[in-house]
Symmetry: C2
Subunit: 263 residues, 2 copies
């Protein structure tokens, strides 16, 4: 079991409830990363559905949980031939922290018939810069190796369009760094870039309000490449569209989130 | 009240339940359009939340409802200062048909600080072609005027990348055609293009499994422009990313859906 699998492990308590131990090693400024929380909740939902993989995960963030014990309450709302849909809610101390809908099934093995978003060219990981956010401590980086394309590093000296590209790999004291990412780790990958609006000088805590992701294929071992880009920044809100490719160049995940500009 | 507002009207029955009359005038091949259903469910959820506008709407489609009476059961899961989040489920004949999470609040009036997706150039509506799908009757077109950029019309003679651009306006026998679209009509606009995979020769019934939309601004009166594009078509699944601009060129909605290739 990888460190990521341990940190997102869920233990079935009864027909519909799972226990989870939230690990602050996967947080930013003391608050668990949204992608990490989605991975844990999707793990419970996929198990409750009795399916292999989450296909579509929609998370609406209510309040940030603390580290420690929490539970995922699930309800299978439809179980069909091809997919099953589950509502899953993360609870802690009697409060709902994250509400999600997960449609689960089996990811196809087939090669793509069409790809409109080929992997962008970016320098190899060893020529990229480690993510290092200025305003907060990013505990997550102890567990996830994030390398940013120097051209898109979101610092004051590198202002530009709100686009960030880079690589992600899981760190693992036992299995070794770069231990293979499973499908659920893709939910981490779609939320692992620093907020792209930092490149517009809008630096600050940028909470995710909603994140919807599509998982498209089981990733091959190796580095995951990601690109995140904000399309519209207006009135204190921004969207961020993310695509993730595996080491073979295959699109493995797509997501869009709505977030508040940091203040 | 516009024809669209009448067709998506919800009547509060008690603290959490709304009655709705599903109108098959907004369907495709006898099944209500997904965007139409999302508009009705988001109208109930936004009312239950006591907010002005839906901001993020995630819908997971379980089974297509028939026309006629249905109900939306809502549950406000969090009501905060800036936003409220509501779970809303469309029920008919004792079966859940569509499960949604809606985060509602107030759309900003502010001009955008950044726009990465300017409105593409496309011919004016009078030089575009009315949508006319071949395999099914599209009842929706009696109520919605959809004009497609001739360069992207998804016919066998016009094979190409799975991208469709066009215009949308509401028809209205009483108020006149082109009656202003409200924010909820944007949920129709993100799902009004014919399936983009028709341009790859993959013509057939292409059911939406999941659709998540962000509403970004109240649309100005006039035609809405839309662009829909599939990024990855693999193993019988495709995604479709949609952007909608109002008549002033402002981005008013963004969405991505997961759908099955028609068979």
């Amino acid at each position: 079991m990888s460190a990521f699998q341990r940190a997102t492990a869920v233990r079935r308590r009864d027909d519909s409830t799972y226990d989870v131990e939230l690990d602050l090693g996967w947080s930013i400024g003391g608050r668990p990363n949204g992608g990490y929380l989605l991975a844990a909740i999707a793990r419970a939902a996929t198990d409750a559905a009795g399916r292999d993989h989450p296909l579509a995960v929609s998370g609406h963030f209510l309040r940030p949980p603390a580290g420690g014990p929490a539970e995922v309450r699930t309800e299978v709302v439809k179980s069909g031939r091809t997919v099953a849909t589950v509502r899953a809610t993360l609870w802690q101390d009697g409060q709902a922290c994250l509400d999600a809908l997960v449609t689960a099934g089996r990811l196809p093995d087939a090669a793509a018939d069409h790809v409109g978003t080929p992997m962008p060219s970016l320098p190899p990981p060893e020529e990229c810069r480690s993510r290092a956010d200025t305003p907060f401590r990013v505990e997550l980086l102890d567990n996830v190796d994030v390398r940013l394309d120097p051209a898109t590093v979101p610092t004051a000296e590198n202002a530009g369009a709100p686009l960030v590209r880079g690589w992600m790999a899981l760190r693992d004291a036992d299995l070794g760094d770069g231990s293979p990412a499973d499908v659920l780790a893709l939910l981490l990958a779609v939320d692992v870039a620093p907020p792209t609006v930092f490149r517009l000088g809008l630096v600050g805590w940028a909470p995710t309000v909603e994140l919807s992701a599509l998982l498209r294929a089981v990733p091959a071992p190796g580095w995951l490449a990601f690109e995140a880009e904000a399309s519209v920044v207006a009135g204190g809100w921004f969207d961020e569209n993310a695509t993730v490719w595996d080491s073979t160049g295959r699109v493995v995940a797509q997501a869009r989130q709505l977030a508040l500009v940091g203040r």
